[in-house]
């Protein structure tokens, strides 16, 4: 998927997500709000895939950046009257980047379980701050009164989520472009090298620690932007964007889709959020049960996530076709 031997050209299948998204825009107008949320979580999952799937940084704290971005946009709008959507995104990105570089510089000296616990600690701390600082964040009641000015002064956020959907789609496209370029670049190859053999990357002279801090910060920035988008679309921020739960949900989404495959971050949130939407309507109290079953099935029978198993089936299919052709001759 990355490296000096891979072909960086865009394959036809890579147009699929964008065509599906555009088709959904025209064909499913009553689901656009859900659609915008799916797009936001895809961007969020993409940022996680960059550090988990490529650099091998394991984290349960990615919601810290998502939540910080969400609250930055929300507080700026509700408390300080900054309603321009791009300025909100910019501020959220800057805040998340700052948190990313400072916490990353501390915790990326560790790895494996220690790292996992530290990331969890950081998002828990941010959650507790948001919970206690009621004068700023509204605490457990959440932050309402978020207003977002029309994009470029032209496109108002409408009730049906049309503007929100396209807005998020553009943001996701830019995020995808960035991540895709990055994983095919020397930087991406170097990250894969760190994941596969950290000792060797040290040996060839790579400043592993600084590279990890860098990619962690980039990923944090993306997560912060995703969080700000969520605030703008919902016009509300609640504590549920912080802490273990959204981090865990995100990890489940990425595992469902497939880690380290770029498009796993697309498939996972779609399946997860649609399943959640459906299950929550049918069984409002037990919808997590359905998600749990889904996760168990994927982990047991589809290593590499939904994309992993699809890959395997496609390969098996093409093998069969080839052998059938060979025997026909």
């Amino acid at each position: 998927m990355s490296g000096y031997t891979s072909d960086p050209r865009i394959r036809w299948a890579e147009f699929l997500p964008w065509m599906i998204a555009l088709a959904a825009f025209f064909l499913l107008p009553e689901y656009l709000s859900l659609g915008a949320r799916v797009l936001i979580y895809i961007l969020f999952a993409l940022s996680l895939d960059l550090i988990l799937g490529y650099a091998g940084i394991i984290t349960l704290g990615h919601s810290a950046f998502f939540g910080l971005g969400a609250y930055t946009a929300g507080v700026l709008s509700a408390k300080y009257g900054l309603t321009d959507p791009f300025l909100q995104l910019l501020a959220a990105a800057a805040a998340a980047a700052l948190l990313g570089i400072t916490t990353g510089a501390v915790i990326l000296r560790t790895k494996a379980l220690t790292l996992l616990m530290l990331t969890l600690a950081i998002t828990s701390i941010v959650l507790e701050i948001a919970n206690k600082a009621t004068w700023l964040t509204g605490g457990a009641d959440g932050l309402s009164g978020v207003t977002v000015a029309p994009i470029l002064g032209l496109f108002k956020f409408d009730l049906f989520g049309k503007t929100a959907f396209i807005y998020c789609l553009i943001a996701l496209f830019l995020g995808w472009l960035l991540v895709r370029r990055m994983i095919y670049s020397p930087f991406g190859a170097m990250l894969t090298g760190i994941r596969e053999n950290t000792a060797r990357m040290h040996a060839v002279g790579a400043p592993v620690y600084w590279r990890l801090v860098l990619v962690y910060t980039i990923s944090a920035t993306m997560a912060g932007i995703a969080g700000a988008l969520l605030t703008q679309v919902n016009q509300f921020v609640g504590l549920n964007v912080l802490g273990l739960e959204p981090s865990g949900d995100l990890l489940v989404m990425l595992i469902l889709g497939g880690v380290g495959r770029l498009y796993g971050a697309f498939v996972g949130p779609v399946v997860y959020l649609i399943a959640q939407d459906y299950l929550a309507k049918q069984y409002p109290e037990y919808w997590y049960f359905g998600i749990g079953v889904l996760l168990i099935v994927v982990v047991l029978f589809a290593r590499g996530g939904i994309l992993g198993i699809t890959d395997k089936w496609l390969q098996a299919l093409s093998r069969q076709i080839r052998s059938a052709r060979a025997s026909a001759r």
Binding site: G3, T5, P8, S185, P186, F187, M190, R200
Partner: protein
């Protein structure tokens, strides 16, 4: 496998920080890596994952990575150990063909290899320096003969 060598070269050239242009388009890196593979007769394995290569070839890849860094000093701990003879011959040829300003320290029990290369030999026995000198001095040294070069009987 090419990636393993290319990563080292990219690190040496400071290309590893570049985030936009696809890695495979950095032909200055891939070309140099391929050239290095050619000198080690690894060209045909360039796209094979290292884990699928026989052990001897994996050793060659390691040496290719090291050479890709353009080292001034090369430390080799039994470079030919476990490598089939046709591959180990290749390792020796490459080492012999390196520019003279690279200092090479080889730790080796294979006396043929040692005498073929070494300009200066230090003989260690039980962790202590027994004798140090030019190859012809060592070859003539009685004690070394007893310990290493002599008959199959070991002290």
């Amino acid at each position: 496998m090419l990636d393993n060598v290319a990563l080292g070269i990219a690190e040496r050239d400071g290309v590893s920080r570049r985030m936009w242009k696809p890695a495979s388009k950095h032909s200055e890196i891939t070309d140099e890596a391929m050239q290095l593979l050619a000198t080690l007769a690894l060209t045909s394995d360039a796209r094979t994952p290292v884990k699928d290569l026989p052990y001897g070839r994996q050793r060659l890849v390691e040496i290719a990575i090291a050479l890709g860094l353009k080292p001034k000093v090369l430390l080799l701990d039994e470079p030919a150990a476990g490598v089939p003879s046709q591959d180990s011959g290749r390792i020796l040829e490459v080492l012999a063909g390196l520019p003279g300003d690279i200092a090479i320290l080889i730790i080796e029990h294979d006396m043929d290899l040692v005498f073929r290369f070494a300009q200066r030999i230090t003989v260690l026995v039980q962790g202590q320096v027994l004798v140090e000198g030019r190859p012809d001095e060592i070859a003539a040294d009685r004690r070394v003969r007893d310990v290493y070069l002599g008959e199959a009987t070991h002290a």
